[in-house]
Amino acid sequence: MMRDDTLHEPDQALHVEDLTVTYGANPVLWDIDLDVPPGVMCAIVGPNGAGKSTLIKAALGLVRPVAGHVRFLGRPIGQMRGQIGYVPQRHSVDWDFPTTARDVVEMGLYRHLGWLRRPGKAEHARALAALAEVGMQDYADRQISQLSGGQQQRVFIARALVQDAPILILDEPMAGVDASTEAIIIALLKKLRDAGRTIIVVHHDLTTVQSYFDWLVMLNVRIIAQGPVSETYSADNLRAAYGRHLAMIAVPAEEPAP
């Protein structure tokens, strides 16, 4: 087969068209059309089970869609491997795996190393630098099972950073981390965005969307809204995405101080 070199929508960091994904008979994603321009920090929000993780996995080619196509900077994913940093949901792996924080970060370099070659001095140094970026340099040789949830999340982010990829995709990086870790992660992502990277984040906390992000995609099986946060973060759109549960989510009930 000849390699197709014609670019389709090269001006978009991520371009999704007519994407439909089903598990069994039920559509989990239905006719998704989506564009994320380069250099933005984009949140994907939607209720539980809306298909946010599935959208990311379909874009990365981890689940096979029944229809539609995906392009990154105009190219299909097969030509963009290694140029997209992926941070899966933290609970998708077993953290009791016998390995260290630095070892996990080096996994981000395996592709670049190629077959048969082992990580050497250069890779160790790059992994340490990536750990330093997330403030985890002192934990390089720590067993990953002995890290807190927030530290594990930062190791995962370092594994994506070490690739130096122009596009970063993160699935709920702020889930279950403490406030200081969240601040570290957001500051880092904003810095990367300001350096010209495209950051796409599945986010679960509506209260912080406006302060963290500049681009927003609202999803509930279908696309509800997409565009700059200032234009899309509206009561109507939120109601369309979250329905009756909105009151619970957007305005958290005041808890009596202990």
Partner: protein, 384 residues
Amino acid sequence: MTAIAALLSSSIVQTVLVGAAILGAISGMLGAFAVLRRQSLLGDALSHAALPGVCLGFLIAGGRDLGSVMAGAFATGALAALIMMLIVRRTTLKTDAALGIVLSVFFAVGIVLLTVIQSEGGSGSLGLMTFLFGQAAAILRSDLWIMGGIGLAALMLVLALWKEFKLVSFDADFARAQGFPVTVLEAGLTVMVALAIVVGLQLVGVVLMVALLIAPAAAARQWTNSLGGMVLLSALIGAASGAGGALVSATTRGLATGPVVVLIATGIVVVSLLVAPGRGLLWQAAATRQARARISDGRVLATLQGFARMHDDAGYPSERGMLQVALGAKPPAARLASLESRGLIRSVMHPPETTPHWELTTAGHTEAAALSGQPGDTAKGGTE
């Protein structure tokens, strides 16, 4: 002692020992990956499903020829794996149910075939029974070449694809997103586990084979924190269990090898679960005791006072669970009792809760205030 020396110098015993050690090492090495990938039960299904293949190989070759028996075992094992995959994909049954069904059906077919072959008699048909529970004494010198060859091939493959296997075992989604051929790598690991089972059958037997896959890996995980260490140690434990089991069963008339191998391997697991540094249960119990011993009277008082201040209630009743969290370990009952007898704290009930609570007495508040400022006696200390 001289009896053992004489035994060890016998070439038959040497063959059996070397064979058993090789088989144990292969199982241990590949079992480490199977355990990390949560495929232990698949190993159990594959080994039971190998029995009809063993019988078919025997029928086709007309005797107990290791090559054809192994080919047959591999074929029915692979067929079983395929059927399981289809059941999970095409029906609503979950993996565990599919495993259970396939395991028992294939094993039943195997037992029927075994009985038919035996009722027809013929030379060596008795030898087939050894595949149920294993018989290391049946290992021939010519078998060593097959076992050694398979072991070497598996070792080379694991070394060559080390980082890919590590990545796929830890995070298959990430590996796929990076463009690695995850399906091929996973299939490779599964096929190697199947090979380990097939070669290990005559040592341990189809019924207990899964233990030789899981036990060495489970024991090894306790002692090391690196994948390389775990795989190496698992192979060593597998080899030691295999050789030990072969030696015991060879010197005891009529004793099958499989159960002895499994008992040795399981013994190592139990010891490892108990005493391994860091992860062992006894080790953890000792660490907890040390933490409790470090809880001084002053820290208990200071913590109670801290809770009282936090709640603006001098008589605030603190539950033991709260003390445990703040102090990093459960305060010993004797320590609380001695504080109570000195009139510094008071045991109180706090309905509707039925658990014991403690509050500071006035004397206790004075004592806590006098002690505060003393180094190491802060309420928050000791949580990490």
